[in-house]
């Protein structure tokens, strides 16, 4: 499903929002959203102060239930789009090209999936060099067992993501991750994971601590010259700044990530557009949205249409959708013309 992104305009705290939107890793290959019963089980297990979530409390996020700009799409197209999104989330092939990744998910990505996707990506061939650099640093200082400890912790976290109600496991992972950081301060991955643990809607949820861990991870990543993790840190810092309603700072972070030429995460462009929309800056917002739509995934246009922050620039957004439609339509008509098919002028297409 294509989900409406979290917005500060929503009448709910971010932590409560996360509690309603658990994703679990399925056999370390795919993703699945947890239902109401599962949400309550997880929340109760991971945070004693949690109140029971009721059906009526749940914020509707599925784009299929929302009214969309007609120039963008009509109700009849929703099932087709649903099909595409579902396929992206359910991909189970281990082929690197088809792996669930930030890039392949495109607009289907939602912030609650971040840790699952990151760990999937960390296992991919693309991340081998970055992981090996930490391994090498530990090997050269005779502390290879610390790398193995970290690897086991990451595997445990992936296991936790398959069963997020296992709070004991989460606690053990948190402790082991802290040990990893303490034993080797240069373990950028462990620092980053710690940041993610603080962003889980469990008893450990703490934006300040998450921010601190990610800032430290970013510094270490910069020391290692690891632009991948560095950009991910910027992305999360941008998100945390957004949650604090510091939209300018949020934009700075995502632009910094883009400057690092980290282009395999289309969500970076969408987030930049979102933050500019929150700043009521239609020109820049549409510039980055256009990048996300044309360069990566046209479904980002739909995601923007259901995102509350884009309501700030609603008028301009509708015009943008009209332009997108007209450009695509004219390109089709031109291709047909080249094929020798021309529609006569006095009959409107509508």
């Amino acid at each position: 499903m294509l989900l409406k992104p979290f917005s500060n305009k929503m009448n709910i705290s971010y932590k409560d929002f996360l509690k309603q939107n658990y994703f679990i890793s399925v056999n370390s290959k795919g993703l699945k959203k947890v239902n109401l019963k599962g949400m309550n089980i997880i929340s109760k297990a991971c945070d004693a102060n949690s109140n029971e979530i009721k059906e009526n409390d749940i914020i509707r996020r599925s784009f299929a239930e929302m009214e969309l700009t007609p120039e963008l799409m009509t109700a009849e197209e929703k099932p087709f789009l649903e099909e595409i999104i579902t396929a992206r989330l359910a991909k189970i092939e281990r082929n690197a090209q088809k792996d669930v990744s930030f890039y392949n998910l495109g607009a289907a990505f939602s912030i609650e999936m971040f840790d699952i996707i990151w760990l999937f990506e960390l296992r991919s061939e693309d991340s081998t060099d970055a992981v090996n650099s930490v391994k090498e640093a530990l090997r050269s200082t005779g502390r290879i067992e610390l790398f193995e400890k970290w690897t086991r912790t990451a595997e445990d976290y992936l296991e936790y993501l398959e069963n997020p109600a296992d709070f004991v496991l989460l606690t053990q992972i948190k402790e082991k991750t802290e040990e990893c950081v303490k034993e080797y301060e240069g373990n950028l991955f462990a620092r980053f994971l710690l940041g993610l643990i603080y962003l889980k809607p469990a008893a450990y949820f703490d934006l300040n601590k998450a921010e601190q861990s990610i800032i430290e991870a970013a510094k270490t990543a910069a020391d290692f010259g690891n632009s991948y993790l560095s950009a991910l840190c910027d992305f999360l810092m941008g998100w945390i700044s957004y949650l604090r309603s510091d939209y300018k700072k949020a934009v700075e972070y995502t632009l910094s990530a883009i400057d690092k030429e980290f282009i395999n995460m289309p969500e970076l462009y969408f987030s930049t557009a979102k933050y500019y929309a929150a700043l009521n800056d239609p020109e820049n917002s549409l510039k980055y949205l256009d990048e996300a739509v044309k360069r990566f995934d046209f479904i980002y246009a739909v995601k923007a249409d259901v995102d509350d922050d884009f309501k700030n620039i609603g008028y301009e957004l509708t015009d943008y959708f009209k332009k997108l439609r007209n450009d695509k339509k004219n390109s089709l008509l031109q291709k047909l013309k080249d094929l020798g098919i021309e529609f006569i002028e006095d009959n409107n297409v509508r």
Partner: protein
């Protein structure tokens, strides 16, 4: 005496009505008087005109519709905008048999047939199956254009266009390499036949004409898959003509030589030798060109 083929009018309710009136007319005109004809005339004024629409006429509309079976919908291409009112008019004449004339109906049927044929030739979509497949796919693209939403364009238009493009490209290839080649070969064959027709016997001409009728039928089908069969028949026909012409040529050469030899005692030797030499040149030319025409001394 007027004879009605009653079976023509019994298959519809209008037809049955007409049949009743025909029986009335027959009864009225039986006395063969002025007044009986006058009364019969009053009944004919009330006769529906459909007495002139036979099943064969009605079928024409069906055949036409089968040639363009896709739903013609907006946005129209020029052909569709032109054919639609004509088809509507044909349908109107067929439905309003009582007030419409068969002449108008037939004229419109011919007009529609011409439009379809011209469009098929102009667009190179001569094969009916491909013609229909192409327009069915085009209709799917029209649905996208009518929906007119960005997401639908993104979801479907490229795929649909690629399909359309594939059909068009495949067709162009078949049109050029199969249809046009066969058509040209057929024209050459017909010219070949026309050229040597005078040298072929009536029985053989009949056989060849029957072959050409078969080839004509294959061409009328316009189906690419039947063009190979047409080419095969053309080749066979050409071989037959060549065989007949060669046999004819040999006979002519023998006859010519025989005639020249007969002339030897009657003319001066030097003149005979010149004649013999000239005829030999003509025969040689005929051998080289394969043409019989140079051997025709009447030319």
């Amino acid at each position: 005496m007027i004879t009605f083929i009653k079976s023509k009018y019994s298959d519809t309710s209008d037809g049955r009505d007409t049949l009743l009136k025909i029986t009335q007319i027959e009864n009225l005109i039986r006395p063969d008087s002025f007044f009986s004809y006058l009364c019969a005339l009053r009944i004919t004024e009330d006769m529906p005109e459909n007495v002139r629409f036979s099943q064969k006429d009605t079928d024409k509309f069906l055949i036409l519709k089968n040639k363009i079976p896709w739903t013609i919908k907006k946005p129209y291409i020029r052909f569709e905008a032109e054919i639609l009112p004509v088809m509507d008019e044909i349908g109107y004449h067929l439905n309003a048999k009582k007030t419409s004339s068969l002449e108008k109906y037939n004229a419109k049927v011919i007009e529609a047939e011409r439009l379809i044929e011209k469009y098929a030739e102009d667009s190179c979509m001569v094969d009916p199956e491909i013609f229909i497949e192409f327009h069915n796919k085009l209709n799917l693209l029209k649905d996208i254009l009518r929906r007119d939403s960005y997401v639908f364009y993104e979801l479907r238009s490229d795929e649909m266009f690629d399909e359309l493009n594939r059909i068009n490209t495949d067709n162009k290839e078949k049109y050029t390499n199969i249809y046009l080649v066969a058509k040209k070969k057929y024209e050459v064959s017909k010219n070949f036949f026309a050229k040597y027709k005078d040298y072929i016997g009536p029985k053989e001409i009949k056989t060849l004409q029957e072959q050409y009728l078969l080839i004509d039928k294959l061409f009328q089908s316009r189906r690419y898959d039947l063009m190979n069969k047409a080419v095969e028949l053309i080749n066979r026909t050409d071989s037959k003509i060549t065989e007949i012409v060669n046999a004819k040529k040999q006979n002519m050469i023998i006859n010519l030589n025989r005639q020249i030899d007969k002339l030897k005692p009657s003319i001066w030797l030097e003149d005979w030798e010149i004649l013999k030499k000239n005829v030999s040149v003509m025969i040689k030319e005929a051998e080289e060109t394969g043409s019989l025409l140079n051997l025709n001394l009447d030319r």
